[in-house]
Symmetry: C2
Subunit: 346 residues, 2 copies
């Protein structure tokens, strides 16, 4: 089992300064509710008070296919993964629209799509698809290490390129199935409790999916204490890479807005490998997938938004960006009682 990775702490001094500043602003103390906490959190990750508006927000989509898709666990056929990657590159997907609205940019990385995709997004490709996790490993140990290292390199590239807020997105038909397995193994739950409807499967599809999750979980429970072994057993290259990305973002003191069930799953793995990494993350949106809720509970994270999303791609993270911007803006720009000549409470 891998050594524990040390994670830096957030800046407690900047956070305390932010709390003090909140109390001077022209509003009743606490009247902005969760915005006030969020602003203090941003001050602590940036290490400065008042916090700065985010200048380079990046959604990074980890794309990969999953062998279990052949078992009929999704409402869509596996070729949609590669087709949607092309849609991301053309700017036509939901993630592209939401990114434009918050002046974020989108990067797609092909870790394991079961198709030949353009070279500029396939530099980190580990393999095509993954093993059928109900009866075989998703990845070899070497593939798992390679994908994890790829994710760390991608985070380094982003931070070196100036990213000051990262949003991990996912694309992969079938990917909620390994997530259900991984979270069930990590939180000791039953298959049926964490198996969701994914892209919108019917009852028969859900029963097939539960059977696959149950079989894979039987294999996965044996290696549950070891996150890298778990990723090899029941994950995939896209998930291993996103896990490495989350670990490295925390090491680089770069805040992350988590998205749906895939990023929440990888976040539990990353926080196991690098305890305390979760202090660098917020949960953007609640997903309808039960495994997301279980994963976020484990991490102690409460989603900022709850709008019934179940799309992935990074959309649930991007949607929360304006709330974070509002939090930062109010703390940074509001007048104080003294400056505005407003009488504070006695």
């Amino acid at each position: 089992m891998a050594d524990v990775i040390d994670v830096p702490l957030r800046d407690a001094e900047a956070e305390a300064a932010a709390r003090s500043r909140q109390a001077t602003l022209t509003k009743p103390a606490g009247a902005l509710g969760r915005l006030e906490e969020l602003a203090c959190w941003v001050a602590s990750v940036q290490g400065t008070c008042p916090p700065r508006a985010f200048g380079r927000i990046r959604a990074v989509i980890f794309a990969g296919d999953h062998g279990v898709a052949a078992a009929g666990v999704s409402a869509y056929p596996p070729e949609v993964t590669g087709q949607m990657v092309a849609n991301f590159l053309a700017g036509g997907a939901a993630v592209n629209v939401l990114a434009r609205q918050v002046v974020a940019t989108v990067r797609v990385v092909d870790l394991a799509v079961d198709a030949e995709l353009p070279a500029e997004i396939s530099g980190f490709k580990v393999r095509r698809s993954s093993g059928h996790i109900d009866h075989e490993d998703a990845l070899t140990p070497a593939q798992t290490e390679a994908a994890f290292a790829a994710g760390r390199s991608i985070a380094d590239e982003e931070v070196d390129g100036g990213a000051d807020l990262l949003i991990p997105g996912d694309m992969g038909i079938g990917n909620t199935t390994p997530c259900a397995v991984l979270v069930a193994a990590l939180t000791d739950r039953e298959a049926a409790a964490l198996t969701g409807r994914g892209t919108g499967i019917d009852d028969a599809g859900w029963m097939r999916k539960v059977a696959v999750v149950r079989d894979a979980l039987r294999r996965a429970r044996r290696v549950a204490p070891d996150p890298m072994a778990l990723l090899a057993c029941a994950g995939g290259a896209d998930l291993a890479a996103m896990t490495g990305f989350l670990v490295q973002a925390a090491l680089r003191r770069t805040p992350v807005l988590l998205d749906g069930v895939v990023s929440a799953t990888c976040a539990v793995l990353a926080d196991s490998l690098a305890p305390g990494a979760s202090q660098w993350w917020l949960a953007g949106s609640r997903s309808t997938e039960p495994a997301q809720q279980a994963a976020l509970e484990r991490l102690g994270l409460t989603p900022i938004l709850d709008l019934g999303l179940r799309l992935g791609e990074g959309t649930g993270g991007l949607l929360a960006v304006p709330v974070l911007a509002a939090a930062v803006g109010t703390l940074a720009e509001m007048a104080t009682f003294a400056d505005a000549g407003v009488t504070d409470r006695a």
Copy 2:
């Protein structure tokens, strides 16, 4: 009692076209959750599909003092109302920061502030402050009519000026007290159940406030079936004006994002005067004030955000603007399965 005011219907054809369009976009059906409903709602209020991005968003703050503030129902002294109006005009309040972030503009109207304020915002002023509603009427019937008519004129000015999304805001120390009374009268609840902490009063302040609400409610229950009489008995000029504003916005087919407890209270009154007006409104943010929840339940509206706000000013409405923009953007800009060459489900 006033005649019922007829309200136009939203455009069912545009809404149906929006629902059909949602099904063609490159995402699993329903995967954007509430965004999909919101986009269809915008199509129906704009009468066009795909809907347009909002081009002129206006937060209109109705400012007024309340006689009951003298009873110690707020954590802040009454002079803060006028001071905060000056802060709005200087651009230093939370509402100003949030408006800038969503490219909205802020208008402040003095209906009943207990101070001499600049002439450019006092053209609709009805009086200074209001009666002590625990033992006397807030307004005369003539003042109530004048304030209501002022609100209608303000809505007309905004719509004629090109506003395509309106957000009613409030400023008035003590104003959550009349709201608790009005909503309790309208929904037949008890004083203690709908009395909140407002700006953050302590237990002793809350007990004083409950006593005031209970006394005012005894007077208000007698006139509860008549919204205009209720506003005169236990409202205020700011509340009567906001009620007129909401009625007129619906008549002018202009969508409204409601804010906190004050706008929810006025919305119940406005929907009583103009049944069906609520179809033109969304609730932006859940407030911690119990009267807001009771009012929104009566209207059948579920807030888009739930972030523990209790500020008013329009902040809870403005915070929801990016979610609405995301809804509109995805419906208007996403690629279809056919255009993107993505395989749809069987």
